[in-house]
Symmetry: C2
Subunit: 301 residues, 2 copies
């Protein structure tokens, strides 16, 4: 997965990922009306809205943006119907050749972690095997330690999948725990050292591990320092755009050859049509494409 | 929720919760055969197995065990069908009067955390309101700080729901991050102090907060110390039984009046029929009831 991701980034020249995090208020009026008319004020209607919106976005982006990162919470909000939209989204993004990163931030232990690992592994039932989530990689939480990560290592290697482990997140209160001084260094640096170690268990062939890290764009110096702590760790970088991170902030997050990072934007791309009066409701995919190209210029310029 | 939980524990005299964490290999042969015959080797067959198994367990336990804690990972493993079994399980446990704690360990920020909060809040669609998960409380991960917790406080108060935040988990590698020395005290004590503070925002009327903590039974001294750090925090205690925790280990986790804790057992109850040759395949609910009564004696004796 990590080699495929690097190749796809090199090919598009665009180290970015679109966050497919739909919210009800982002849905273009025409789609909203159609689904409410067909299915009433129901979770099914919202699921159909998300599917139509995401498919339009994927059609407009898949040749210029290498990866898609749906945030499962936005779908889980609408229960089983919402999750059906999530699975339909991952399926369609994969079909269109995008690398799919499930932003699920799961974190649990032993048999439970092994059950979550079905996201990137396979689910076997009496010898028959199912890929039920269509993800190439998922995000994970490190709070429970290696017991929570270990069950994902084998599917990473066996099925060429990946994980990105939270190290330094982009939100203001990430400091509550992550910045606590842990024996002379902030906790997130300790987490980073562990992620670097764990990463050795699942190396790709292009210098980076299938075990990556989440490092927020909003903390410039910390990100630069973490690049040194984790030289073989690929960074998934949230917090660009709407949360305040800029292209110039993250130059130092990259490794040699300008590789080693993929930068996420969600609202800034998928809801771009709402920001610019030049675009109408029906132009949401076109607006997203223009925003994605602008972002590419900003982060690679 | 926390007052209702305390009242229900007082009424049953049993501060325990059954972990409804079904695994394929736990399913009694008769149920397994019936569902494979009806639905083939499919996720739907496994979902129907889990529903039949859980309903039998709930029927056998609901009058003596105050709460049920389904671990969502075990269901997520089987994709959308698995999650249908989760929702059917929470619905049925609630209908039978049990307090339902969704073991989801979610942790994210701002709009994303707000979306996850639908687990204990309500999902509104054009003014219509849906309770899609049937949970009274959920477990949360604190790694991202207060930004990840704050969106849950309002539904806790508005709908009388609860959360349990990971502080010191029961697994061996919980030490990787949680035990790091953070300015003179282990990290989990810092997390505990935060959870105690956050708890003040959602107090119940019986001395405990709707914001609880997860504290593993496998760490006796740490749990006793945490009771002092968080006097108004209700503890959800995993790690009893199969993981090695005993009733005598957790005496000091309780607060005054022997309140303040609810102890989880999963395999030890739901798969009890596999341990004792006295029970056959069809007696799984009876075996679970006997195991639950034995556990009650151990933790209250």
């Amino acid at each position: 997965m990590i080699d495929r991701l690097i190749e796809k980034i090199d090919k598009t020249g665009n180290p970015s990922v679109v966050g497919l995090d739909p919210a009800y208020e982002m849905i273009p009026g025409k789609i909203k009306k159609e689904m409410l008319d067909s299915y009433g004020k129901t979770p099914k209607a919202v699921a159909e809205m998300f599917i139509a919106f995401n498919k339009g976005l994927i059609d407009g982006l898949h040749d210029i943006v290498p990866a898609a990162k749906p945030q499962i919470a936005m779908y889980e909000k609408y229960g089983l119907e919402g999750l059906r939209a999530y699975v339909e989204t991952t399926r369609y993004a994969k079909e269109k050749g995008m690398i799919v990163i499930g932003d699920i931030k799961r974190g649990d232990i032993s048999t439970t972690a092994a059950a979550y690992a079905a996201h990137i592994g396979m689910t076997a039932i009496e010898g028959d095997v199912f890929d039920l989530w269509n993800e190439d990689a998922v995000t994970l939480n490190p709070y429970m330690g290696f017991d929570g990560i270990e069950p994902f290592i084998k599917p990473c290697n066996e099925f060429d999948k990946g994980v990105f482990i939270l190290v330094k997140t982009s939100n203001p209160s990430s400091a509550d725990l992550q910045d606590l001084d842990a024996s002379g260094a902030p906790l997130y640096e300790k987490a980073a050292a562990l992620v670097g170690e764990w990463g050795k268990l699942a190396m790709g062939s292009m210098g980076y591990s299938r075990v990556g890290a989440v490092v927020g764009a909003t903390f410039k110096e910390q990100g630069e320092r973490l690049r040194k702590v984790m030289p073989s760790t690929f960074f998934l970088v949230p917090g660009y755009g709407a949360q305040g991170g800029k292209g110039s902030d993250i130059k130092g997050f990259f490794g040699s050859g300008r590789r080693g990072c993929i930068v996420n934007s969600s609202r800034g791309i998928i809801a771009a049509y709402k920001k610019d009066p030049v675009y109408g409701d029906g132009d949401f995919a076109e607006a997203a494409r223009a925003a994605a190209l602008k972002m590419k210029e900003d982060i690679t310029g």
